[in-house]
């Protein structure tokens, strides 16, 4: 499973990419995409909304379930990926690039320390299998 080394991860299977001098980018991991097996709809976060880490900011629908998406870290949502509204299939494969969900202007960089790096996330995924 593709787990890029340059991203940070949550236990709820979101990824966060801190950006120098800019808002961080976030999305769903390959594992999330596989579990959903076909996103049919996404209710995007609200642009301008201030969120806390762990707060529910969006949800995705697949054929069988609705799953919530949580903010990996606190901040202000400065941009959302409207392309996902018309084409949720971007989350089938392009979850790390074209399927990004939103950009968050982080309030506290220290919260990044609480996220997993790629190695830790891979280990975590290993505990979930089986």
């Amino acid at each position: 499973m593709n787990i890029p080394d340059d991203l940070l991860y949550t236990m709820e299977h979101e990824w966060l990419k801190p950006v120098d001098d800019g808002p961080a980018l976030m999305g769903l991991t390959a594992y999330a995409s596989e579990q959903l097996s076909g996103v049919t709809f996404i209710e995007l976060p609200k642009k301008g909304q201030e969120v806390k880490r762990g707060q529910k900011i969006a949800n995705v629908e697949s054929v069988k379930a609705v799953s919530d998406i949580y903010a990996p870290a606190g901040g202000t949502i400065v941009e959302v990926n409207n392309a996902l509204e018309s084409d949720p299939s971007l989350l089938d494969e392009k979850y790390y690039d074209d399927g990004w969900i939103c950009r968050i202007d982080l309030t506290d960089d220290a919260e990044l320390d609480d996220l997993m790096d790629a190695k830790a996330y891979r280990e975590y995924l290993g505990t979930l299998a089986g």
Partner: protein, 443 residues
């Protein structure tokens, strides 16, 4: 009589396989103290006995009366082909189509029904049906509340009073408030709607034709609602849509109604058929089942239940509603009816019903002491002012063999001398004439 096929030998063999001495053993998990004693119920009967008994009970119901009663439920003709198709076991003994490959008949029929409702109402998407026109109206109100994030509903009192009762019942424990527009025996008074609209209004609920039978072009009221940021919800009479302006044409956001007139017997109150149709953009907030088109692995077109995540069994508490079932067989009846009468036939049924009502109105209006409300256009139902209490007249008419109409005072205080009369394509000129004479004889 029961429907158990086992022979004694088979029972014994099965018990042996299970390793139980008797069937009684299989209930050992229920402690003796919790067992029911012998129930105080009669012994069973043969099919012959049951049929006789029910025929006897059926004979105690007065279906000999020529019906001029409507009130939202009408004596329209049900073509034999509708009944015959509905009797096919593959259709009526099927389950909800969760296993799509084994249910393409049901699923395709639902898709066709959804399409028929859209064509009928002029709306973009329709669901697979709801229980009846009243629960459909409630669901529409809640949908509007969810979509707008507001909780006040402006309710036209020309909307069927039975449905208004249901709305109040369902919203009792919810944070919803109603303001009723005092429509009385005429079209909706616009000047009474405007003052109720504000930035907390989720929806304006209208009915066309209204309970008094009047038809109207409510596009201006719809506009009023939209200007206030509210949605327009309209309850409709499907046969009338063969002729009258559709909710779609008026800009209505959610159209609902009772589908009983489309091939379903009156059957003393049910089963009936609630339909709902709305704008495509609102589809995710629409309750009920939905059948959608797709393909299988070989590119063959097929149908599945879709957007099920909205439904209760997946979202549980976050569900749009708790509707689990629809009225699949009733929806099928409506689809078959609409397919049988077709584009021209529906117009004809509507036209005949309206013309016969116009004739009845003329005949009754000529009676001394009777005044029919004819100033505003009506479809197939109209209000008569009588010189005495309508209830008395109705009793007299029953004795003469007519279910002569519905006394409005039942639901509208102050209208004691008003009678609501409905006419369908089934009423003949002779019946209408005789009815008029019977009424005249009572005055």
């Amino acid at each position: 009589m029961d429907f158990i096929p086992h022979t004694d030998a088979q029972r014994r063999a099965m018990l042996e396989t299970i390793g139980a001495a008797s069937a009684e053993d299989l209930f050992e998990d229920i402690p003796a103290a919790m067992r029911a004693g012998e129930l105080n119920l009669p012994a069973g009967h043969s099919e012959i006995w049951v049929r006789n008994h029910l025929e006897h009970l059926a004979s105690k119901n007065a279906t000999h009366l020529t019906p001029f009663v409507g009130g939202g439920f009408y004596d329209h003709y049900v073509p034999s082909a509708v009944t015959a198709i509905l009797r096919r076991g593959e259709l009526y003994t099927a389950y909800t189509p969760y296993q799509a490959e084994a249910s393409q008949g049901t699923l395709q029929a639902i898709y066709e029904y959804q399409t028929a409702i859209c064509r009928l109402t002029g709306m973009e998407v329709a669901n697979a049906s709801l229980y009846d026109g009243g629960t459909a109206l409630y669901e529409a109100a809640m949908m509007a509340a969810r979509l707008t994030g507001r909780n006040k509903i402006v309710l036209d009192s020309g909307v069927n009073p039975i449905y208004r009762n249901m709305l109040h019942c369902y919203t009792r424990n919810l944070n919803v408030a109603f303001r009723e527009v005092p429509t009385a025996c005429g079209p909706t008074p616009r000047d009474q709607v405007e003052p109720f609209l504000d930035d907390e209004t989720a929806a304006v609920i209208l009915q066309n034709p209204n309970f008094f039978g009047f038809i109207d072009d409510l596009a201006d009221v719809v506009d009023m609602a939209h200007r206030a940021g509210a949605l327009a919800v309209m309850s409709c009479y499907p046969i009338s849509l063969g002729l009258v302006k559709t909710p779609g044409e008026m800009g209505v956001d959610i159209a609902t109604g009772e589908g009983q007139s489309l091939g379903l017997p009156l059957s003393f109150g049910g089963p009936y058929l609630g339909f709902m149709a709305t704008r495509k953009e609102f589809i995710r907030q629409m309750p009920g089942r939905l059948a959608g088109v797709t393909e299988d692995g070989q590119g063959r077109r097929g149908f599945v239940l879709t957007l099920q995540t909205r439904e209760q069994h997946i979202r549980r508490q976050g569900a749009t509603s708790n509707i689990c079932t629809n009225e699949a067989l009733c929806a099928l009846a409506a689809l078959v009816y609409l397919s049988l009468v077709g584009k021209e036939g529906l117009k004809e049924v509507a036209r005949l019903s309206a013309d016969k009502a116009a004739y009845a109105a003329q005949r009754l209006d000529r009676i001394d002491g009777v005044r029919v409300h004819r100033a505003a256009p009506f479809f197939n139902e109209f209000v008569c002012d009588l010189p005495v209490h309508a209830g008395e007249i109705v009793s007299g008419l029953i004795e003469k063999g007519y279910a002569g109409g519905f006394p409005l005072a039942q639901y509208y205080p102050g209208m004691e001398k008003r009678l609501l009369v409905a006419v369908t394509e089934k009423r003949t000129r002779e019946e209408i004439g005789a009815f008029a004479e019977a009424l005249e004889g009572l005055l």
